[in-house]
């Protein structure tokens, strides 16, 4: 790494210990209440422009040298930043990743290309961070399942019918399947594999 590249790498979480604890707690809450938007309040600095701060906070908290992260095309630019702060390997193939960052308009996204876990260790499946313009005003679907009282409506912008079909198929694999984190700016909402998707797709 040249000195020039190095100097562009700034701080990660404002407070590495309490910051990552806050993000972790937020993620727990998000997965406990599927589709409910949560705010990441840690002030991050030096995050590459191409990635929203909530996604950056999740990566800084969850990724390390044993947590391979797969990046789809528009996020190639964050590689040096991610390597510097987390030492995470960035594999070629989605199947080798534990976390992934993709854009909502990434047409080639195939959820079943990622690790879905196996019967003995369903926890080894991937968690996919999907970057959306906002977490509302998109194609609405109704969600049911653990953590949701009766039913709720979720409509992150940029997630089209075909994608919802994939997400519903993923839910059918339970207890296997990937978990999803939708991110827009500093907010995030989680969709665990246990949430059922009901609606028109």
């Amino acid at each position: 790494m040249s000195a020039l590249e190095q100097s562009s790498l700034a701080m990660g979480l404002a407070d590495p210990v309490f910051g990552s604890q806050h993000v972790f707690r937020t993620l727990l809450n998000a997965f406990a209440a599927p589709s409910t938007p949560m705010q990441i309040s840690d002030t991050l600095s030096g995050v590459p422009d191409s990635i929203p701060s909530a996604a950056a906070a999740v990566l800084l908290t969850m990724a390390d040298y044993e947590t391979p992260v797969w990046l789809s095309q528009p996020f190639d630019g964050i590689r040096p930043w991610l390597a510097f702060h987390t030492s995470a390997p960035m594999p070629m193939h989605p199947a080798d990743a534990r976390f992934a960052v993709v854009s909502a308009d990434f047409n080639e996204l195939r959820l079943d290309a990622f690790s879905l876990g196996d019967e003995r260790y369903p926890d080894t499946s991937a968690t996919i961070i999907i970057i959306c313009p906002t977490l509302e005003n998109g194609h609405p679907v109704t969600l049911k399942g653990p953590g949701i009282k009766d039913a709720t409506v979720f409509a992150p912008q940029g997630i089209e019918r075909a994608m919802w079909k994939q997400i519903a198929d993923n839910n059918a694999l339970f207890p296997l399947g990937v978990d999803l984190i939708f991110v827009a700016g500093s907010s995030l909402a989680a969709l665990p594999r246990s949430t059922r998707i009901i609606g028109d797709f």
Partner: protein
């Protein structure tokens, strides 16, 4: 079954004070410092680092001080502490061939390149008390130094025979894969050599010693020779992702043992010497030797040998050699099992009652 029981808080807090007082002992005697333990109880510290699976001499010494010298409790502290730390990565595999040797002996070759170096050892002491140490009057004289240092590189003994093709080859498998890590992934059977060696290296010295002894006494089909035992400092190197080149982080003390065993051969393999490997943090020869014997006995499957003895059965050895896990399960019996026991008691009373009723009925019928 476990039930939450309330009401012991005050008693528990009082035990903390009492154990602290006990630990301090007679206050008219000067308190021992962590530095004193680190420098003067090095072999205990090594054992705590091995079984705690964390190399840090200061923490090993603190663990011993805090636990009144209870090795397993001290190892538990080390294990608990390491779970609070982030993992920065894995080292470049340490190269014991470049060890700065302080002790190196072979029971298979008298004249070996580099020589037999006895180093600091109790092997040649008479096991008689040195009452001068108790009288506190002795000052250790500085050890004699030779005019010349040892050879910078000493060949590992099994590598010497390796040239003749009489020694089992130890070579990395294809692509030199990253090793399994039992602190990250669950152990499965049959277990690979990497899984076995990691488990043994954090295993209880006493358990491994007993098993190794059982192998020697005939409960295992091997006759081991101590091909080589070496102890000294090795360099630990690491490649930080952000630098992209290897840097040295310092040195650690290691003890390594290469056991050499007879092997009569099988359909696939010609008669040759086979190997067992042991390595331990600090100066820990007994541990490294026991580990090497067990490593070899666990290779039974690979060599097509019968696995009829405990030391050859990997599930038995690997699941039971960890003293922190073992003491956790044995000592959990101290926890309240009141409801469990009440249930058993009720059941027993009921069975007794029924039996007595049956006997009475039979007696009546007979009359």
């Amino acid at each position: 079954m476990y039930v939450a029981v309330k009401g012991g808080e005050a008693a528990i807090l009082a035990t903390h004070d009492l154990v602290a007082e006990d630990r301090r002992g007679d206050v008219s005697i000067p308190e021992i410092s962590v530095e004193q333990i680190r420098e003067q109880m090095q072999l205990s510290v090594a054992r705590v680092m091995n079984e705690g699976s964390l190399y840090d001499e200061d923490l090993g010494a603190l663990a011993l001080k805090q636990t009144q010298g209870d090795m397993i409790e001290a190892a538990f502290l080390m294990r608990a502490y390491r779970t609070t730390l982030p993992r920065f990565g894995s080292s470049v595999p340490v190269d014991t061939a470049t060890m700065a040797i302080r002790r190196r002996i072979s029971a298979t070759y008298k004249d070996l390149p580099g020589g037999q170096v006895l180093g600091p050892t109790y092997d040649y002491t008479h096991r008689l008390f040195d009452f001068a140490l108790m009288a506190n009057g002795e000052k250790a004289p500085p050890a004699m130094a030779a005019d010349y240092a040892l050879d910078a590189a000493m060949p590992r003994v099994p590598d010497i025979l390796g040239d003749e093709g009489l020694m089992e080859v130890e070579a990395p498998p294809e692509h030199d894969p990253r090793p399994f890590d039992l602190t990250r992934d669950p152990v499965e059977f049959p277990a690979g050599r990497d899984v076995r060696l990691q488990t043994l290296s954090r295993g209880d010295e006493g358990f491994l010693l007993g098993l190794a002894y059982s192998v020697q006494r005939g409960f295992g089909g091997n006759h081991p020779f101590a091909g080589e035992i070496r102890m000294g400092e090795v360099t630990v190197s690491f490649v930080p992702e952000e630098l992209g080149f290897a840097i040295e982080l310092g040195d650690i003390t290691l003890t390594e043992c290469q056991m050499v065993n007879q092997f009569t051969g099988s359909i696939e393999q010609p008669p040759q010497f086979t190997r067992g490997y042991g390595v331990a943090f600090g100066h820990a020869e007994r541990k490294a030797m026991s580990m090497a014997i067990i490593d070899r006995s666990l290779k039974a499957r690979e060599f097509g040998e019968a696995t009829e003895y405990p030391a050859q059965q990997e599930e038995f050895v690997l699941y039971h050699c960890d003293n922190v896990e073992a003491s956790g399960f044995v000592e959990h019996l101290k926890l309240p099992h009141y409801v469990d026991f009440q249930g058993e008691l009720e059941l027993l009373r009921k069975i007794r009652r029924e039996q007595e009723e049956r006997l009475a009925e039979r007696k009546e019928a007979a009359e």
